[in-house]
Amino acid sequence: MFAFGPLRDSGVPADASRHARELEWFDGLRTGDEPAFEALFRAYAAPLCDFAYSYLESESLAQEIVQDLFARLWERRDTLERPRSVQAYLFGATRNRALNHLRGKRIETAFLRRLLHVGQARASGARPVPPEDDLHANALAQAVARAVETLPPRCRDVFILTRDQQLSYAEAAAVLGIAPKTVEIHVGRALTLLRAKLSDWLS
């Protein structure tokens, strides 16, 4: 995926051989082939963690979710069905788990607060912050990241998949189960909204 480089007509998968290889790994997983499972894991661990992180804002939780996902895949390998796209399947499953966790956390917090008269425990103290190198570029990146969080949910999903995870429109559509045209509309809308929110940064 390039911002200004080789272009292609939409609809043709950017990397057909990659898709095919991943399907082979997935088939291997279903038959209990450990090296195939490991190859699949190593190909997807980091991108899925990044993706989960964009929802959870917690590295340990992101890792935990991805770990859970792969562990369950192995446990249930006998019952797995062959997906049309391994990438769509894994990203979709990760997203679902992340959203479930967020939903559970909201419910849990509300439950604790309501039922037990627990003022929500507030924690203070230094939160570990990842090191930043280039200050200016990262200042903009931070501003963009914060603005992305305020996008409407579906719009945000699409933007993260296409810009951060660098999925094609077709691939993002497969992950979310929507039409590629809808993806296209969401990306355009995201840029419109972000440009308005970040007008101070861009002159």
Binding site: L7, R8, A46, C49, S60, V118, R163, L202
Partner: protein, 327 residues
């Protein structure tokens, strides 16, 4: 071309447009600085990504391939049987659950009674003069079987909340470590756990003098918390909240900006659990919270939520609880 829509520019930046469309946009952009600026604005948004994170893929793989993995990493709620002493905020009088020993006194010294609570226990004691005290978990107190005509002396290791019957002729003295808290009639909490190395006295009503035995003490008044250090110095803690020291007697555990390790130590005492922290970053966090004394599951989960860490149980009966740590 007319100004391309954001949708079209998005496709251009994402590499999704056709070669024909790309040529048109390049031409449009070159036509004027204003056009170019508009494109560059969107390009800046598209390419301004935060630095990639590093993930410990090896550790994740080792964890996945560990036998027995995959039973749910999140805290699972299980029915637990808790010690009946704490199931309700029940107050037990005198001997229930406590240990009593009567020491043979010498001619001068009156015979003493000893009471002790284990972790997860507390008791209320009525004293011969009409005073009462609530003994917190993991604490030990010695009380004379009878108070004489002079001072009323009790000896404390741990924590207790005293309600002292007023008697100006007989000062009531609580001895703990090297400190003596003396008063003539009031309500105050003394916290003197050996592992803390300081003695704290929080006064609810009245006034208490805190100092070394036979030395001039510092007066701690209602609403104040005095701290006695091993050096003998007494300081007033401006940052402490009275509820931290007095709430437990009413069935509330209150923490005001208390470091997380101290919070977990307190929870460990109250529920006879071994609560540990994994990861040095967590040890620097402070907690402000108020919990109703009940089953600790909710309390621990609230803490885990507040510091965004996971909870795991281990050990026989699941009594070891670890907060934090990478999977």
């Amino acid at each position: 071309m007319d100004t391309p829509s954001d949708l079209l520019l998005a496709r251009y930046l994402a590499g999704e447009c056709s070669s024909a469309e790309a040529r048109d946009i390049d031409a449009w952009s070159a036509a004027s600085p204003a056009h170019r600026a508009r494109l560059e604005q969107l390009r800046a948004i598209w390419t301004a990504r935060r630095p990639p994170r590093t993930w410990d893929v090896e550790a994740m793989w080792r964890h996945i391939r560990r036998p027995g993995f995959g039973h749910g990493a999140y805290w699972q709620r299980e029915p637990r049987r808790w010690r009946p002493a704490l199931a309700a905020a029940a107050v037990l009088v005198l001997l229930a659950g406590g240990v009593v020993a009567v020491m043979r006194g010498s001619r001068r010294a009156p015979p003493m009674r000893e009471y002790a609570t284990a972790r997860g226990q507390r008791i209320t004691l009525q004293l011969p003069d009409g005073s009462s005290l609530q003994l917190a978990p993991q604490s030990h107190v010695r009380i004379p079987a009878q108070f004489g005509d002079g001072v009323r002396d009790v000896y404390l290791d741990g924590e207790a909340l005293f309600s002292v019957a007023h008697d100006a002729t007989r000062p009531f003295r609580v001895h703990s470590q090297d400190a003596v808290a003396e008063d003539i009639g009031t309500r105050f909490d003394v916290r003197a756990y050996a592992e803390d190395s300081t003695v704290a006295v929080a006064v609810a009503e009245g006034a208490v003098s805190l100092g070394r035995l036979a030395a001039e003490g510092v007066v701690v008044r209602a609403g104040q918390i005095g701290t006695f250090a091993p050096s003998g110095l007494v300081g007033m803690s401006p940052e402490g909240a009275l509820a931290d020291y007095l709430g437990w007697a009413d069935g509330r555990l209150h923490f005001e900006n208390v470091p997380l390790p101290a919070v977990l130590r307190a929870i460990g005492r109250w529920y006879d659990l071994d609560v540990r922290i994994a990861g040095p970053a967590l040890a620097t966090r402070s907690i402000t919270a108020e919990f109703t004394l009940g089953a600790p599951d909710e309390m621990l989960r609230a803490l885990a939520l507040a510091v965004d860490a996971r909870l795991t149980r281990s050990g026989t009966g699941g009594r070891i609880i670890t907060l934090g740590g990478t999977p």
